[in-house]
């Protein structure tokens, strides 16, 4: 069988196991947390009989194993279940987890996409140029700037951007909070997301840029590059045509990691710009112990990691003839 297809199938299989393990671990962890959705929601108003009525209504009175198996059964059929919230004492109509997650996931993917669209080409270009002019003034400067931006906490970067770019004292170019109207056009959305996207770009560019630079420089020491140089190729051509194809594997790995971060790890940036992404949804769910939503978000996060790592591996194999055509 083609090694590419074999790897994909194998990884997807492992991915499913990963998801299963994640869901089990998560159920156990949530079980350890003090309190539950009923006591969280009622807070100080939690008298014992009110809590008991609430638990009965959302099914928290059943044993945890039974609840988990029920959830797993639904999940296998592609049903994310219902959130505990919005459970009315009269109608009992609860919000479907899928309905809660879908719009948030779209927002998050949009923001991540926008940030990646800027960050990935930028990082690759900066990294290649840094490898080309390594140890020069340009190299030092790019390193200094990107390392500074990655070293500052992301909320700080966000506040600084908001201060200078969304304040009539300096420049009021972008909105200070990213409110996305339902049904807004793609350009309105991009404008609303400008500051969080810029923040994320500043946070992830350094990692990818330095990995590009390091792996290209590493290859530049190999004999075949020396050969290329000896036959008289230009330095630019040596790097783009000879070094880069062999550097794709490590670079795509780092890009995959950063893209995964853009989707699962940007809750702080979402908070700073009041952007309704999936990270805030998960934090809300954890705070209120809305277990079906926690599980739903976790499944998506784990799925994102599995798929992105898989794509990185596919790129690594596809760009390496030795892996693609093994003897």
């Amino acid at each position: 069988m083609n090694p590419l297809i074999r790897t994909i199938l194998q990884r997807l299989g492992f991915g499913l196991i990963t998801l299963f393990v994640v869901s089990v671990v998560l159920s156990l962890l949530v079980g350890v947390l003090p309190g539950d959705f009923a006591t969280r929601t009622l807070g100080q108003a939690a008298t014992p009989d009110t809590v008991a009525a609430f638990r009965r209504e959302i099914g928290l009175d059943r044993p945890p194993v039974e609840r988990y198996l029920h959830w797993l059964g639904d999940m296998v059929r592609g049903d994310f279940g219902s959130s505990y919230s919005g459970a009315g004492s009269l109608s009992g109509n609860r919000r479907a987890v899928a309905d809660l997650i879908a719009p948030r996931l779209v927002n998050t993917l949009f923001l991540a996409g926008l940030a990646a669209l800027i960050a990935v080409p930028l990082a690759l270009t900066l990294g290649l140029l840094a490898a080309l002019y390594r140890n020069g003034v340009y190299d030092r400067l790019v390193n200094l700037v990107t390392l500074t931006s990655i070293s500052a906490p992301e909320f700080f970067v966000g506040y600084v951007l908001a201060l200078f770019l969304a304040n009539d004292v300096y420049f009021q170019i972008f909105p200070a909070i990213s409110t996305v109207e339902p049904g807004a056009s793609i350009f309105d959305r991009a404008y609303a997301c400008a500051l969080p996207a810029l923040t994320l770009v500043l946070v992830i560019v350094a990692h990818m840029m330095r990995m590009t630079r390091a792996s290209v420089i590493n290859l530049l020491a190999s004999p075949y590059i020396e050969m290329a140089r000896l036959k008289g190729s230009e330095p630019r051509r040596v790097i783009v045509h000879h070094a880069l194809p062999n550097a794709w594997a490590p670079i795509s790995n780092v890009i995959a990691l950063n893209l995964a971060y853009l989707i699962v790890g940007v809750v702080v940036v979402e908070k700073v710009f009041a952007y309704p992404g999936i990270g805030q949804l998960m934090v809300d769910a954890v705070r209120n112990q809305d277990v079906p939503v926690i599980q739903g978000c976790a499944m998506i996060f784990a799925g994102v990691y599995v798929l992105l790592n898989l794509s990185a591996d596919i790129i690594a194999i596809a760009t390496n003839p030795r892996l693609l055509h093994p003897r």
Binding site: P34, G35, F54, S83, L90, A176, I177, A274
Partner: protein
């Protein structure tokens, strides 16, 4: 500063209303015409103007929020869905008085053991349906009964029966006399909702009677409402549209106000308030609310069973210091009386507890001790700043020979595992608009939330008598005695009453701000307008 300037400042800050200002100005010999001009200069519009679309930045909001008033956990639901969309039977005005809202009158009978509410004529729901007694009954039943998970369940526990008397009259029967029952009816958990054919309340549709009609809502993100053209209050509301954005991060909230993306923000950042004040387009409003932070001691557990130990601990804390350092001056020091100064019948019992290590030592000695070592359990889940306040208290108490051991509890599950369980801990009360409500909820013998386990026979006798007493003069005396008893004998240390500090664009105008809840009594959408 002349006296006139002083009153101009006061009205700017929202501490007095327009009519009071005109009265003061007249007393100082200023003509009404001139005073009105001054008001306009001070940014107080003569008559509220209609129109405009206002955006409010709220400090709360979660995806778990629901339209169901059985759980309106914070301002993200209370301000749009109660204050914006709904009415209760009654409302508390800016001076703390109870006034009818969707009712015309409320009369006690049978020595306040039963209350008759006559529904205001012409009140309609947003779908055009007339408000009738059945709707009121369904809305109340929504919170009552064994299966209720409503936060208002215990509030309505004393209601034994509700009956309709024709379409326009509702009769509440109570299990005991309660002269303050109309206040309970003003609670934000009990908006009036239309009844469904099966007699249950329809909370799902968002159809209510209030100043604004439900528009769009994304839980934890935004809610937008449109003006109700058929609102029963003449001329109100003033805005055409209101939008509420959840901006949980305080710096983001401040940015949004400074950038003009919202017109108002709740819970302004106290640490950077002085910087925000420098913005000439922003007005800071501050009112002392009913909410207060407490350290309740369980008086059934040693050493707190000794009144002298309790008194020693009351003298050993420097409340001014805590108000200044932990709450940055935006709080009013307490005097171990849980009734806020703005509540009717509130007193300030003597002697006022001030930091006095000598008096603390004296009482400790009287209790037969030369030093004392006690645990105080706190977490910031009790109230923001609880750990800092306890740490300062530890330093204050040292001088009196009292060694406080501060036990840091986890935030998670604090209200389940620490509050009401540990002998001494931190706690918070959002306060209640009447003496009876507050005292019955927390200080009555056997109350579910009696966090001090205090059971003073004289206090409990007075509480029942005062509740059924309709003569204000007699009630005043009784409530004064009860507050004195809590102050002298009770197990609660009231640190401070918190101030509601909010910030608004000067494009907005308002009258005196209500102290009963934040966001102008949660009714900012109805009460404010564009200047």
């Amino acid at each position: 500063m002349t006296e006139l300037e002083y009153w101009t400042q006061q009205i700017k800050k929202g501490r007095i209303n327009r009519r009071e200002f005109l009265g003061r100005a007249a007393a100082l010999g200023v003509t009404t015409a001139l005073a009105t001009t001054m008001l306009a200069d001070a940014g107080v519009a003569a008559t509220p103007k209609k129109g405009g679309s206002a955006k409010f930045g709220l400090a709360h909001g979660a995806t778990t929020d629901t339209l169901d008033p059985a759980s309106y956990p914070d301002t993200a639901t209370q301000v749009p869905f109660w204050g914006g969309m709904s009415n209760s039977l009654t409302e508390v005005d800016a001076d703390g008085n109870i006034t009818p809202d969707v009712v015309e009158s409320m009369e006690p009978t049978d020595d306040a053991k039963s209350w008759i509410f006559k529904i205001r004529k012409g009140v309609t729901f947003h779908n055009g349906k007339d408000l009738t007694a059945d709707d009121v009954i369904a809305s109340y039943r929504h919170h009552m009964g064994a299966d209720s998970k409503s936060a208002a369940k215990s509030l309505l526990a004393a209601v034994s029966d509700i009956k309709a008397d024709g379409k326009g009259t509702v009769v509440f029967s109570l299990s005991g006399a309660n002269a303050d029952f109309p206040y309970i009816c003003s609670d934000y958990h009990i908006p009036i909702m239309p009844a469904k054919p099966d007699g249950t309340a329809d909370w799902q549709s968002g159809v209510r009677t209030g100043p604004f009609v439900f528009g769009a809502w994304e839980p934890g993100v935004r809610a937008s409402l449109k003006r109700n053209p058929n609102y029963h209050k003449e001329g109100k509301p003033y805005f055409d549209e209101v939008e509420f954005l959840s901006i949980a991060d305080v710096a983001a909230r401040t940015n949004a106000l400074n950038a003009g993306e919202v017109d108002w923000i709740g819970r302004a950042d106290l640490k950077t308030l002085n910087l925000l004040k420098k913005n000439p387009k922003v007005e800071i409003t501050e009112v002392t609310g009913y909410g207060h932070y407490v350290f309740p001691m369980q008086v059934t557990i040693a050493p707190f069973d000794n009144v002298d130990v309790r008194t020693a601990l009351k003298w050993a804390i420097n409340r001014e210091d805590i108000a200044k350092k932990v709450f940055l001056g935006h709080a009013t020091p307490g005097n171990d009386n849980p009734i806020a100064p703005t509540v009717k019948f509130a007193t300030n019992p003597e002697p006022v507890y001030k930091y006095d290590p000598e008096k603390a030592k004296f009482h400790l000695k009287k209790a037969g001790m030369s030093n004392l070592k006690v645990d105080l359990s706190v977490a910031d889940a009790a109230f923001t700043g609880a750990v800092d306040a306890a740490t300062l208290y530890k330093e204050h108490a040292k001088a009196a020979g009292i060694d406080l051991n501060i036990v840091r509890e986890p935030d998670d599950g604090y209200w389940d595992n620490v509050w009401l369980k540990k002998a001494w801990c931190g706690g918070y009360w959002s306060g209640r608009p009447t003496c009876d409500w507050m005292l019955t909820t927390v200080y009555a013998k056997g109350a579910a939330w009696n966090e001090t386990q205090w059971a003073n026979p004289r206090f409990n006798d007075l509480l029942v008598t005062a509740r059924g007493e309709t003569d204000d003069k007699k009630r005043k005396g009784m409530y004064a005695e009860m507050q004195q008893l809590i102050h002298d004998d009770g197990g609660v240390i009231v640190l401070v009453f918190n101030n509601y500090v909010e910030a608004a664009s000067k494009k907005l105008a308002h009258n005196k701000i209500a102290p009963n809840w934040e966001c102008d009594g949660l009714k900012i959408a109805e009460r404010w307008w564009f200047a």
